[in-house]
Subunit: 305 residues, 2 copies
């Protein structure tokens, strides 16, 4: 998403209303205030206007799905796909717990094993060509039940599976809440990271599902817990903590998409070092000297100027 943002209008703590850039899609005119603001979680200012780059709807698209014996196989296919240069517009990995949740919620009968879903776009011939290339990679990694659809209704039906993933999980345990965590690692480490994380999750008594934007090396874990059970909360925190630690040990980030807030503050020093955090704190201090923009978020309290 952030790559499609051309410029922003931002209200700063001192009341200044700034425009972060022109409408050109490329600029070298000064500091990149657009990207500085995106992901700053309201700590530098409030975004009041966003100029987005529009994308042409693709002429044709194909949606495909296949299943694997292990999550490592599925992640290996994601890595091989990206390394091969095949253009996938979406590549989503669901673990067997997630697929089970989807089966229950939607009365489906999908094989309850790690699953990859793909979307290919372009011309009709090209999208089909990419499907054939993927099919070969999938078969080299013990993938099975490869299906692909081109009919609009069938495509929508297949994507519904992914789109409803979180709700399907929540439906499995109606009085539970979900702690959703997300980490991201260099693509080359995805299979290792996701396998290690799964070992950890499988050894826990908690109900946990994994969904990954696999082409980015990014994955989310949904940990279902009883909000009235302190042991549950503690165990969910422990799992989250260990998954972040695994990702950081692989030169990854404690959050690929969800942001820092207060929950992930404690990992920033290990990920970025104190120098980077001091730099962030300095920027915050000069742009919001009265600390009125979402105070207490993102920058750990122990960082000094």
């Amino acid at each position: 998403m952030r790559d499609n943002v051309i410029n922003l209008q931002v209200v700063l703590g001192n009341g200044d209303v700034i425009k972060t850039g022109s409408r050109a899609r490329k600029s070298a005119a000064g500091y990149d205030l657009t990207r500085l603001t995106i992901g700053s979680e309201g700590t530098l200012g409030i975004i009041t206007e966003v100029t987005l780059r529009l994308q042409k709807l693709p002429q044709h698209s194909v949606v495909a799905m296949c299943h694997f014996k292990t999550i490592k196989d599925a992640a290996d296919v994601a890595i091989a796909t990206m390394l091969s240069g095949i253009q996938v517009s979406r590549m989503e990995l669901l673990d067997e717990v997630q697929v089970r949740a989807i089966n229950i919620a939607n009365e489906k009968h999908l094989p309850e094993t790690p699953t990859l879903m793909f979307e290919f776009i372009g011309t009709e011939a090209y999208a089909r060509e990419q499907v054939l290339l993927i099919q070969k990679i999938v078969s080299e990694h013990n993938g099975s039940n490869f299906v692909f659809v081109e009919d609009p209704d069938a495509k929508e039906e297949l994507w519904k599976i992914r789109k409803g993933a979180l709700w399907a999980c929540l439906a499995m345990a109606p009085n539970y809440e979900a702690m959703i965590t997300d980490v991201c690692v260099p693509l080359s480490r995805l299979a290792e990271c996701i396998s290690k994380s799964k070992e950890l999750l499988d050894a826990s008594p908690m109900l946990c599902a994994v969904i990954s934007h696999a082409g980015d090396g990014n994955f989310h874990t949904i940990i279902l817990f009883d909000p009235n059970n302190e042991d549950h909360q503690c165990e969910a925190e422990r799992l989250n903590h260990l998954m972040v630690k695994i990702a950081l040990s692989m030169e990854g980030t404690c959050t690929g998409e969800h942001g820092v807030g207060t929950g992930k503050m404690k990992y920033l020093e290990e990920e970025l070092g104190m120098g980077a955090l001091r730099t962030m704190k300095r920027i915050k201090s000069v742009l919001d000297p009265n600390n009125i923009m979402n105070p207490g978020k993102l920058i750990p309290p122990h960082v000094c100027l």
Copy 2:
């Protein structure tokens, strides 16, 4: 290029050596110091390490070229190409002066009219399919002499034309220097901007050539001038000034790629407004309080904290 930068190591004015991010290709962990640093022209710190994202070499590529009666036709094709969703990996526009320079320098006999060059990448079938789609758009805009090549040597030979453009210009006037300016406008305004700029250039006695990264709405003008002739320098400055003004009037930027330095400082207020400049100055002041990092560049001197 900046989209392929994953993280940086930067030495700040206070001696801090910071890492701007992890090796993950996506992160929401704090302010985007990577993008803040890129394009800051050394005014915030010195980049000492860059981690880049590698791209797979395409399986196949096709290079194509065609010619137009007017520069507006050529720019219109660039716009239509981007709007159509055709994937071009390169799309370069050369005006008739640039083509003449290339003919002289390389003993070529290309038609001395506005020219577009394309590169298409992907699978063999896909790259060819895109060529056919482009060919149709080109013929709808009075394009002629459409050629495309797939042989590696022929492709290299064709791209040499573009790569040697600046040297070809300089060779036309051996004792002259080149003032190279660059602006960028929203793609929808490219044809209008480039046509207006060409009118201005054509009415000047100076020798000027235009080269455009047309898919981005970005173009460069090479103005050849005698460094010992004050009138020449003055006229080159006047042309540069007016081209920037045209781009700004179309919600563009005074520089798409080359940066601000000192030459384009005076346009930043019109482009971004005083609020954005004050914000930049504040960031500069807090990250480099002794003003030792490339002082006097990028932020206009009249901007107050």
